[in-house]
């Protein structure tokens, strides 16, 4: 039940705070080929039609070049992007998101709902049926006891689990039979289904019962795990590679590949070279600046998709000038996001009207256009707010004071620094003087105790990125009056009674329709109040050999290997 984070990305474009690093995790790309699914019919390219006609072929090996190395093969102890990527192959979860952001079952037979009786009417009892054919790689069946055991590990205070949010709502776990697990909740938790064993894997009790408590943190199991996923762990040579082989006991479709190898290559340049020389087949989450080069490599398909990470401006609502809503709206109207995307990012990012992922059901398309680039309206709003150019220097004044604001971001990130310069020009055109003062990322993102700039609110405008998630409950942490630092991450310090109430309602609303309505209302308030100006969604670039079929990158934490069981090599 974690908002999984990735810690760093050396040499990369995205070096920065943890949130920023999460891009690696959000790495994705829905690719040049439309998705195919058993139940849905979609348009296919001719070549893909041929492949489908031929059917998946068994055999072969795929080598994935990755910049980072897993810390330990346990998502409970280390929720990094690379861990997700590798653990997907070895372990099983209850649910995953597919590449269209739909929740699909993994080791459970169906996703529990009130309609199918999996969820009680009072939303306090959740019943899961494990697949009858699910087995550990050593042949033993996966049972409800394993699930209960894993829950015990997560709740053990001696275990270094990063977050237990959601899990702490569970009062008891019952196992009426070997394949049925019943969770009884102490209070309702709306995201229970989408977060239970979503980024944690089920662990084998028979192999780990002697490794609980403190011992779990340093157990050798995390270096040679036994799971129930499509591939078996084979070997891990630190600093070099990690290999998994096809499991013959897998319950789902496939797997078709004999082996998948993760090759650890810390330098982006070397990854590029290895893709060129054919030493790796897949360069996952490639450096965006390599795009042109990647496109020229023969036999390599380049996939590009918006990630779930968005760049945005925080407006400090405690600032005297920014306290006026008209000024904030004017700033939003004066921001030409298209220009930033084009000038700074070569058109390689997707403009973000709102802070909600465009294909999400929570996206309110009615309000999305309200604050589109419009300098005339921006000037009008500033005039209404009493800002006029008295001395003719092009900068507006009020009571003898210039309309000067200071923007900050992570120092040394060239793209961000360029964005600031573009913004400076754009704001200048409506009479706002923008000053730039950047900080080292540890200072900018530092904790409240460490006097972090964002946490202490020592900025006017701040430019950085957030990771979004398919379910919007985390928004409460960003915009509620109750989450102003040090109590949360409401860095804009927006204090809006109705918004706070709606956010609380939304994160406790279980009924999907009502929930969607609440978040549409929230979007309306955010557009009206402008505590943030969303700029764009980062794009993930993945390059892989055209021979690898069914590679469908995934923007969620289910990661690009979410369907590796169906990967196969074709002509």
């Amino acid at each position: 039940m974690r908002f999984s984070l990735n810690q760093y990305k050396p040499f990369g474009l995205w070096l920065g705070a943890a949130v920023v690093g999460a891009l690696v995790l959000a790495s994705s790309g829905c690719g040049s080929q439309p998705a195919s699914d058993d139940k849905t019919t979609v348009r296919r390219t001719p070549s893909e039609r041929n492949n489908v006609a031929a059917g998946p072929v068994r055999g072969g090996r795929v080598t994935i070049g990755v910049q980072q190395e897993p810390e330990k093969l346990s998502e409970i102890l280390s929720a990094t992007a690379i861990n997700n990527l590798v653990c997907n192959l070895i372990f099983s979860k209850f649910v995953k998101y597919d590449d269209q952001l739909r929740l699909v079952p993994d080791i459970i037979e169906t996703i529990p709902t009130v309609q199918n009786g999996g969820i009680s009417e009072d939303y306090l009892t959740y019943t899961y049926k494990l697949r009858q054919d699910a087995r550990w790689h050593d042949g033993k069946p996966v049972t409800a006891e394993d699930v209960k055991f894993t829950f015990g590990v997560i709740m053990d205070p001696r275990v270094n689990v990063e977050s237990r949010e959601g899990w702490d709502a569970v009062g008891s776990v019952e196992t009426p039979d070997s394949k049925t697990v019943v969770f009884r909740l102490k209070h309702t938790f709306p995201d229970f289904v989408s977060e239970t064993f979503f980024d944690e894997s089920v662990l084998p009790k028979h192999l780990l019962s002697g490794e609980t408590g403190e011992k779990f943190n340093t157990s050798p199991f995390h270096r040679e795990p036994v799971g129930s996923g499509p591939f078996k762990f084979k070997e891990w040579v630190p600093g070099s590679h990690l290999t998994v082989t096809r499991s013959n006991t897998y319950y789902g479709d496939g797997p078709y590949l004999d082996e998948v190898v993760f090759k650890f290559i810390p330098s982006e340049n070397t990854l590029l070279v290895q893709l060129k020389t054919g030493e790796i087949d897949l360069y996952d989450n490639a450096d965006v600046s390599f795009l042109d080069q990647l496109k020229t490599i023969p036999g390599v398909a380049v996939h590009m998709t918006p990630t779930m990470m968005y760049e945005h401006l925080d407006l400090n609502m405690e600032n005297e000038i920014l306290r006026d809503r008209r000024v904030r709206q004017a700033l939003s109207l004066a921001t030409d996001k298209e220009a930033i995307a084009k000038i700074v990012y070569n058109g390689l990012v997707h403009v973000a009207p709102l802070d909600e992922y465009p294909s999400s059901k929570y996206y309110n398309s009615d309000v999305a256009a309200a604050l589109e680039f419009n300098q005339l309206r921006a000037r009008q709003l500033l005039r209404d707010a009493g800002w006029v150019d008295e001395d003719g220097d092009g900068i507006l004044e009020k009571n003898g004071r210039d309309l000067t604001l200071t923007i900050c971001t992570t120092a040394g990130r060239i793209n961000r620094e360029q964005t600031e310069l573009v913004l400076k020009n754009q704001y200048r055109e409506v009479g706002i003087d923008l000053k730039i003062k950047n900080y080292n990322s540890t200072v900018l993102y530092g904790s409240y105790e460490e006097n972090g700039i964002l946490k202490r609110g020592e900025f006017d405008l701040a430019l950085y990125a957030w990771l979004s998630s398919p379910e919007p409950a985390t928004k409460e942490d960003l915009y509620s009056s109750r989450t102003v630092p040090p109590n949360g991450q409401n860095h804009s310090r927006i204090q809006h009674a109705e918004l706070t109430e709606l956010l609380a309602l939304g994160s406790n609303e279980i009924d999907e329709e009502r929930r969607i309505r609440i978040y549409h209302d929230i979007a309306e308030i955010l557009v009206e109040e402008v505590p943030v100006i969303p700029l764009f969604w980062y794009t993930a670039v993945d390059a892989c050999t055209g021979r690898l079929k069914n590679y469908r990158p995934n923007p969620t934490q289910s990661a690009d290997t979410w369907n590796a069981n169906t990967w196969y090599l074709g002509g």
């Binding site: 974690r2 760093y8 070099s240 090759k263 810390p266 530092g446 942490d477």
Partner: protein, 319 residues
């Protein structure tokens, strides 16, 4: 001599304490910690952070933390567990050290061989065209950043000419073969030794150049000794002392160089282990690596001091 060596070995203890204490203080002066990456996760509550910090023992005063670390290391040779991987640090280092030593060793030998040869040739042919070419070449190589050299050599040898593999220690999936391994070793060794070759050849040229103009060389020649005897018995032996100093002092350069070379060529050595630990504030791992590398540097310096005595009888040590 034995007493001297013993004294020097004992002297390592305070040195290691000093080096690790400074390193420990610097590490903790950087904001954040092994659990710091979690702090931006909205779902990680202050309680979670406190629990993890307490499990790591990071909630204790720094002096106590350092004291406990030192005690474990000195009394039990126990480097502790990595905060990040949960593995014993000694095992992590043990697995990576051979690769680094192999890379550093081969680069060291290659640099010695080529660097000294070029130095001798330059000294003998001082102020000739050949000398000028070697001088300009050396300065060019010294001035170029290591990572650029690494990337360029990779582009040429691996991509353009397809002569050598671009990264790693072995071809994945192929059975182990010495030849395959050596092929992987060529590029990293070459790049790592280039700067050393350049600088050592300069020092050798200067040192030997000075010696060759000394009176006793003229005397040796006057005695009718052959050129080779003059060069090897009198020239090189006397030029050795300053060169040994430079060579010994280059060991830390090899360590830092191997960090870059290991990153570029994906060499699974200790330099990469260190760099990755640095990004994650993995204190135990960093302390372990600092300790091992400072010991290695100290040993090399000791070796150099002993070599002075062998080459130069004037520097024999008192018991």
């Amino acid at each position: 001599m034995a007493v001297y060596v013993l004294k020097r070995v004992l002297g390592l203890v305070p040195l290691v304490v000093l080096v690790t204490a400074v390193c420990f203080a610097l590490m903790h002066a950087i904001p954040g910690g092994p659990e710091g990456v979690l702090a931006d996760n909205p779902k990680v509550k202050p309680d979670d952070l406190a629990r993890i910090r307490a499990n790591f023992g990071l909630d204790r005063p720094l002096v106590v933390q350092y004291g406990l670390w030192l005690k474990r290391v000195l009394l039990h040779a126990d480097f502790g567990y990595s905060y990040v991987t949960g593995e014993p640090v000694i095992r992590m280092i043990g697995r990576r050290l051979p690769a680094t030593l192999e890379l550093m060793g081969s680069a060291f030998l290659l640099s010695l061989l080529i660097g000294l040869s070029i130095g001798v040739v330059s000294a003998l042919k001082k102020h000739t065209t050949l000398d000028s070419v070697l001088t300009v070449g050396s300065i060019a190589v010294i001035s170029v950043p290591l990572f650029w050299l690494a990337l360029m050599s990779m582009m040429l040898f691996a991509v353009q000419w397809r002569l050598l593999p671009s990264a790693g220690m072995h071809t994945l999936g192929a059975p182990f073969s010495v030849l395959d391994h050596l092929r992987h070793l060529v590029l990293p060794t070459m790049v790592l030794s280039l700067t050393l070759v350049a600088s050592w050849s300069r020092y050798t040229r200067e040192a030997l150049g000075d010696v060759l103009t000394a009176d006793y060389i003229d005397v040796a020649r006057a005695k009718g000794l052959s050129n080779a005897a003059v060069l090897f018995r009198h020239g090189l032996r006397n030029a050795a002392t300053p060169v040994i100093t430079v060579v010994a002092m280059s060991v830390p350069i090899l360590f830092t160089g191997s960090v870059i070379v290991e990153m570029v060529f994906s060499w699974p050595g200790m330099g990469r282990l260190f760099y990755e630990g640095l990004l994650r504030h993995d204190y135990t791992r960093l302390m372990g690596i600092v300790l091992v590398s400072s010991l290695l540097v100290a040993v090399f310096n000791l070796l150099a001091d002993c070599l002075y005595g062998i080459f130069d009888p004037r520097v024999r040590y008192a018991r």
